[in-house]
Amino acid sequence: MLLIRCPYCEMDRPELEFRYGGEAHVARPVNPMAESDESWAEFLYMRTNPKGLHAERWRHTSGCGRFFNAIRHTVTDRFVVTYKAGEPRPEVKP
C-alpha cells in the first residue's frame, strides 16, 4: 500500500485515508471582477500537468482532516516530500 507522510500527524499513513485536491499553489485572483474572461478561464481550468515533479494538494480526510501540499512524481507516483499548507514549495530533486 502507498504510504503518504502527513506533515501534521508527522506519520506515514495509508493512502486510503487521503483525498487528492488538485494542483497546489494556484492563487485565486484578488479581484475576480477585474479579470478578463481569458485570464479567469486560465485560473479556473488551466493546469501545468507536468510529466515529472508536481506540487499538489492532499487532504488527510480520514485522519487529522488537514489540507497539506505534496510534491509527487507523476511518472513513478513517488511522494518526494510533503509540507504544510501555506509553506512555500520546497526545492527538491527528482
Partner: protein
C-alpha cells in the same frame, strides 16, 4: 515477508467485541488556549493523535485544533447538558466551537490477545505496539467506514463509530473473528 513473520496456526489469539456504555460526546474546535481552559474534567492532550483519560472522562486530539471529548459517566446519569453548560461558561471569552455529538456515534470495545490482528483485517494502520502505542488515538478507516481508533491497553482498543455504520463494523468484526478462530 518471510513465513516467520506470520503468526503460526494456533497463535492467532482470540478477542471479544462488546458495546461500550453510553456516553456524552462533544467535538471541541479551537486553539491551544481553548484546550487549556476547557474545564472538561481531564486535561486535553496537546499532542496530535493522543488521548488523555481519567475514568470516566477522556479527551482525544484528532486534529491540530480538534478534540473528541467522551464522558462515560455512570449509565443513566450522562451529564451532557450540565457538562456543555460548564464548558461554555469556562470558554465564554474565547472563540471556539463546542458541539454535542452524543447521539451521532457509539463505541465498540475490542479486547484480547487477537485484538490488533482482528482489527488489521479492516484497518490499514500498523497496529504493533511500537507504531501505535497505548494512549494513541486517531481517526482512520475500517474498510468503508470512518472510525476513531483508540488503543486503551496493549490488547484493548476502543472504536468510536457513527451509529449507522456500527452494524457494518460489528458484522465485519464477527466475520474476521470467525475466520481467525477457524484458522487457529
Amino acid at each position: 515477508m518471510s513465513d516467520a513473520a506470520l503468526p503460526a496456526a494456533g497463535m492467532l489469539g482470540g478477542c471479544t467485541v462488546r458495546k461500550a456504555d453510553p456516553a456524552a460526546r462533544f467535538v471541541l474546535r479551537g486553539t491551544a488556549e481553548v484546550a487549556a481552559g476547557a474545564s472538561f474534567g481531564v486535561a486535553l492532550p496537546s499532542r496530535l493523535n493522543r488521548a488523555e483519560a481519567s475514568d470516566p472522562r477522556a479527551a482525544l486530539k484528532l486534529g491540530p485544533d480538534e478534540w473528541l471529548l467522551i464522558a462515560a459517566d455512570a449509565a443513566g446519569d450522562i451529564p451532557t447538558a450540565a457538562l456543555q453548560a460548564q464548558m461554555e461558561a469556562a470558554l465564554a471569552a474565547l472563540p471556539h466551537s463546542l458541539v454535542d455529538v452524543s447521539h451521532r456515534q457509539m463505541a465498540l470495545l475490542v479486547e484480547g490477545p487477537g485484538a490488533a490482528l482482528t482489527l488489521n483485517a479492516a484497518v490499514p494502520l500498523d497496529l504493533s505496539v511500537e507504531a501505535f502505542p497505548v494512549g494513541m488515538a486517531t481517526r482512520t478507516i475500517f474498510e468503508k467506514a470512518e472510525i476513531v481508533l483508540w488503543r486503551q491497553g496493549a490488547e484493548a482498543f476502543r472504536i468510536e463509530v457513527w451509529r449507522s455504520f456500527a452494524p457494518y463494523v460489528q458484522a465485519l468484526l464477527a466475520a474476521v473473528q470467525a475466520e481467525n478462530e477457524a484458522a487457529a
